[in-house]
Amino acid sequence: MSPTTRSLMSRPVSRRAVLGGAAAAAAASTLNAPFVLAQPARLKVGLMLPYSGTFAALGNNITDAMTLAINEKGGKLGGREVQYVRVDDESEPSKGAQNTNKLVVGEKVDILVGTVHSGVAMAMVQVVREEGTTLLIPNAGAGAATGALCAANIFRTSFSNWQPSFPMAKVMYDLGHRNVVTMTWKYAAGDEAIGGFKDGFTALGGKIVKDIAVPFPDVEFQAHLTEIASLKPDAVFVFFAGGGAVKFVKDYDAAGLRKTIPLYGSGFLTDGVLKAQGPAAEGLLTTLHYVEDLPNPVNRKFSADFKKATTRDVDVYAVQGYDTGQLLVQALDAVKGDVRAKSALHAAMRNAKIISPRGEWTFSKAQNPVQDIYLRKVVNGENKYQSVAHKGLADPATGCKLA
């Protein structure tokens, strides 16, 4: 069974309507066209994203927002009809290379988009570095993808793990915090996120009293909370997401620490989990490259359009998907759909200016977004925009030789 038919069968109706509708419209227009034979071949876009498992909702939001961006511009890329080929990567790193090859070698896709999980994304990076396929990463924040392993054909439209937490250092320093305890899970994303905060905080002259790393995905935090209470730092900065974020925020509050030692985090601490965290998260300050109520017209329009197309609310993943779609539209228009002119295509991408719901952004030399990072606060169970924590922040791209 080909990846396309499999994903078609397992796909819910709403999304099938979105993609299928576009495909049907495309087919109809092809039939009616007077010069059928003169039509260029369809452009193949490979989508390697999680469509099952824990990250399925993220994969779906990225996909739907990306197709929304393309359909807004007529559903074509550089004047060519688009064929989407989907593969469910199951967020399974051990199948990463195999799934990538299915699309790159098997389906010979012109553009590859993926994925959410950093481990899987690194497998994709390895393959496209060999094969030369253009890869757009719509989420995975692993530093190396636009760092030591950066390449002319690899673009990231989301963030690097370092980025969202770096600006919190200045926010906390300005609030008078000098001695800070950091805490995360002991895994790559956690290390990189805490690294971003540390870089900023020590450069300002602040001190990291202790750097606590809990084995992943352990959620028994009580021993460390007792330790934090005895260390009495000015504040605590953490990186947690999902179930761990819910548990940590609730435990921290229940231990009475919120009143005496303020808690801060990267935005993932309060993204998609606020309902489960309940009142324990109220008032938390976090930094991220997006917040749902960002006051700009593009964001307002996108929120409404996305809701209309999918009946779901926007989130940071949808925005990243939307920008991936916008980038494809811009770059392929610039080369008039000729994906074989790779250096021209990559130059067009590199110079793209994305008018995003998260604000305008451009690519760094390492091909990661140079973007604003926002300070957000939890008010009445929602993340609310406070201010720009850092204007036009670029990842340090350690080890990247693209110049």
């Binding site: 498992g53 824990t54 990250f55 399925a56 909702a57 002991k186 606590i212 790393a213 809990v214 084995p215 995905p217 352990d218 959620v219 028994e220 009580q222 021993a223 460390h224 909370l225 007792t226 330790e227 209470a229 005895s230 009495k232 999902g242 179930g243 974020a245 819910v246 548990k247 609730k250 435990d251 229940a254 231990a255 009475g256 620490l257 005496t260 030692i261 998609g272 989990v273 309902k275 489960a276 965290q277 309940g278």
Partner: protein, 288 residues
């Protein structure tokens, strides 16, 4: 390290240990008496947690959720024993592992279909939603102490049932020699069903009362299963007393491992297990 800090960490360790005991006791009972390796034991913990989430959001009270949810979990335990586990008593462990592993997949998929992949929280019951002030920075949540008290009460109740009642005598006898018990005219089928359902019920109850402390998320069952097997192996298979002591040991090893040797926190528990098994290969209270 100051004494207050150490005693607080001991409290943390015991607390974690008591909760582990509640889950592991069911596992060791089923293991010891029915000779069944029940990998799906963690699923009952997961089912308990999701029942607590679902029923609390419906009824608004964790107490009601437990009163309604616990009988449901027991019924599910009875059904699983009657329809599946019963067929395995005569089979080898590999078959049991295959079936109960399959059950994990079925229960996880059912959870995904019914509740999705989101993380859920269960609010702490209003009357216990307070903290006791310990130092100028740290308070202790009352609900954590309540959970420990419930665990201790259950430890005591289990002790009474197993040591002081006729049913307990049958259970103890069944753990020693299943065939002889049957020859003595005790209905071993009914006893097995009861033990399995009780084990499932204990795991589900643990999931329910722990739900406000942890969060409710997919895969919560597997996470707890491994550490429970460690408890059962250290304590000696089939020994409730062993499971109790082992659970407290594991709780303390985990807590102090994290604080004293953070670099090796994830191996602290397994190092303790390895040392104890070197000393007593059958576990603390296991029969050789």
């Amino acid at each position: 390290m100051d004494p207050l800090f150490v005693s607080l960490q001991i409290l943390n360790g015991i607390q974690y240990g008591l909760l582990l005991f509640l889950i592991a006791s069911g596992l060791t009972l089923v293991f010891g008496i029915l000779q069944v390796i029940n990998l799906a034991h963690g699923s009952f913990y997961m089912i308990g947690a999701y029942l607590a989430f679902w029923l609390t959001s419906r009824t608004g009270s964790l107490g009601t959720a437990i009163l309604v949810g616990l009988p449901l979990a027991l019924l599910l335990g009875l059904a699983v024993e009657r329809l599946m586990i019963r067929l395995l008593y005569a089979r080898d462990h590999l078959t049991q592992v295959l079936l109960t592993y399959g059950l994990i997949l079925v229960f996880n998929e059912a959870q995904r279909l019914l509740f999705g992949n989101d993380v859920h929280g269960v609010p702490v019951p209003e009357i216990f939603n307070a903290s006791i002030r310990l130092t100028d920075t740290l308070s202790y949540p009352v609900y954590r102490l309540v959970v420990s008290a419930v665990c201790l009460a259950l430890v005591f109740a289990m002790y009474l049932v197993i040591q002081k009642t006729r049913l307990g005598m049958h259970i103890r006898a069944g753990a020693v020699d299943r065939e002889t018990v049957q020859l003595l005219g005790i209905n071993i089928k009914a006893l097995s069903m009861f033990v399995f359902a009780a084990g499932a019920g204990l795991a589900a109850l643990a999931g329910m009362i722990a739900a406000p402390l942890s969060s409710v998320y997919p895969g919560i069952g597997e996470h707890i299963l491994i550490i429970c097997f460690v408890v059962v192996v250290i304590g000696g298979i089939g020994s409730i007393k062993g499971a109790f002591i082992a659970a407290i040991l594991v709780g303390l090893a985990d807590t102090f491992g994290k604080v004293l040797i953070p670099e090796f926190a994830s191996v602290a528990v397994y190092a303790v297990m390895a040392l104890i098994l070197l000393w007593r290969p059958q576990g603390l209270f296991g029969r050789a």
